[in-house]
Symmetry: none
Subunit: 210 residues, 4 copies
């Protein structure tokens, strides 16, 4: 009985440990995000991240192989979260969008909310010179967004060539990307007039090419 008991204890202990480990990892990741946001990837030191997370440098390296691994993990988190948010708000990929304007509005809202929620996203991945591993880490995200836009545009412009659709897709993505960083710094991003203006700009462009 005592052995059974100790096994139960062991299980509970290891469950607790695992839970705390996951929490710890998440805390470090959140701390890292804010440090990256403040001082950039190269400006951030692992010792500072550790200290701010209330953890020893050694502990940090129990959760992340390297400084870069922290950024990659962050990217993975973003990919997962954004995919989730996009599906929830705009509908699963494949669902026809009856109205292009609706699609634009909802997508922008999703992006705005996302950027507000994860300030590190802009700070780390919207750079011209991210080191290759970071770039790779967000590639899926790029692809997902592009695919979604491409699909909707193609459905609404059946007469256009692949190349044209691809071009429009890229334009929409980059136009939004240009405005997003400044929206993200607003007080209340979702209600910001800039958010409205971005929607207007995209709608105008889509009407023009339609």
């Amino acid at each position: 009985m005592s052995s059974v008991h100790s096994t139960e204890n062991g299980q509970r202990r290891s469950a607790n440990r695992q839970a705390r480990g996951i929490r710890r990892r998440a805390e470090i990741l959140a701390t890292a995000e804010s440090v990256f946001t403040e001082v950039g990837f190269e400006g951030a030191t692992t010792n500072l991240i550790a200290q701010r997370a209330g953890v020893s440098p050694g502990s940090l390296y129990q959760f992340f192989r390297s400084k870069q691994d922290i950024a990659v993990s962050l990217a993975e988190l973003y990919v997962a979260e954004l995919t989730k948010a996009q599906s929830a708000a705009v509908g699963a990929p494949g669902a026809r969008e009856s109205d292009l304007n609706e699609f634009v509005d909802r997508s922008i809202d999703v992006m705005v909310r996302f950027n507000a929620a994860y300030p590190g996203f802009l700070a780390l991945f919207m750079r011209a010179d991210s080191p290759p591993p970071l770039r790779e880490a967000i590639a899926p995200l790029q692809h997902m967004l592009s695919a979604r836009i491409h699909e909707v545009l193609a459905a609404h412009m059946p007469d256009r060539s692949e190349a044209e659709i691809a071009r429009y897709t890229l334009m929409v993505l980059q136009l939004a990307r240009g405005v997003m960083p400044v929206i993200a710094t607003e007080e209340n991003p979702l209600e910001s007039p800039l958010t409205g203006e971005l929607k207007r700009a995209l709608r105008a462009y889509l009407a023009e090419i339609g």
Copy 2:
């Protein structure tokens, strides 16, 4: 007599020196630009820049107070060059734009040409994040571009409030900034379809808000 003579010599020598100094400075700046472009601001070491510029590290610090100062000086150079280019192509600031669309087209062309000519511009200042040391260097550039757009928009929309004009200005700037980096990587940027699409997008937006 000899003192007069030596003074004349001194003047001539100091003029020569100054000229060579200015040339040196420009060379270092050009070298720094290409190094920044290759490896980014933090990836660049002052020793590498000095070496590639054929100058000793000590000399580099005779022209620039710090690594950051190099970037700031580069930004100032860009401001000057871009102002010149803009004036030449679009008309001096203050000159009324008869047609907004004309203004857009010419401005975009200027920017595209400029980005092609100065690769460091994109590498350093078109980043969505800007590591803190670069943030202040970028400000004058921002202001110059904004001022130009603001002026033209204000002239064409006399009934709008300051705040609205400011908002539209920011939008135009950011929309262009989003697309510019991908235009810059094209084979022949000026003829790229994306350049045309950017003009279309901006015209459509301006028409919408007009």
Copy 3:
């Protein structure tokens, strides 16, 4: 009554524990030996040893005070094993050697066999330098081997001074130590011609000084 019972239980349990403890310790020591052999003393990490031994780092420190203590314990093990092997093959210490040549041959065979059986022995203790932490661990081994040789030499050269005997002892030990590492890397060490040559060399030296 119950207390008696529990005491009996306790005794049996503690006996079991102790037995398992000894086994554990031996397992860790064996693992450490192979890790040391693979990557050297400084290359080995206590965490790796623990992991390979299927033990937690904390447990390892229940058996060994420090990393150095592992090496010392290994040395002690070698002293014990080598003493045993030596006694079995050459006769217990104290037993007169009728023939010096016999003694040489048997001792070399013992050493060769031992080196083949315990690769860690060479890796840790046959190094010409010994990093300071290992220096003290090696001492007992040195002493044991020296004592054995000294005794036999003294018995066969009653007319020589202490100092001379000590010198000859050291010579024999070091001559053998020089050749042993290369013998140990041979396919079949015991049959290697080098083993024969080492015996010849030592016999020749002993004859010379005899």
Copy 4:
């Protein structure tokens, strides 16, 4: 004239600089040797070496690419010095040795002197587990010594097979290697009785196989 003068100054300055650089490098190397001797290669820290050499860590890395490079450079020094010493004392390779015993005596003296002069040699390179680059660095030395011994033995034993000569060569080398470390720690190595004993041992072995 003043320009000529400044050129002369420049030349003198750069000559001075180079001279000081070479001296500095040699000092660091000497310091490193003694640190390696005291605490071993892995025990030595680059910061300690720098400090003891009266140099900043950064300066150390101006002369040596890495900690390992220091050891490799030391090895190269040893190779050069020992080659020089050997040629001077025993005669250039190729010169027939009339007497084997003479050859042994002189070679041992050279080695003893060398080991006394460069204590780092034993500490760094007589180890069972030197990292590969260190091993490579002394390989030439090994080869030189082997070649020299091989040549002399072959000349004196024309009837033996290649394999036998090779074996004897290896034996001589290793027998000497075993005793050398303890000779090197003696007060006055050249006069140490152990040096005499080593010569005796080698002569006895060579007589035996002759």
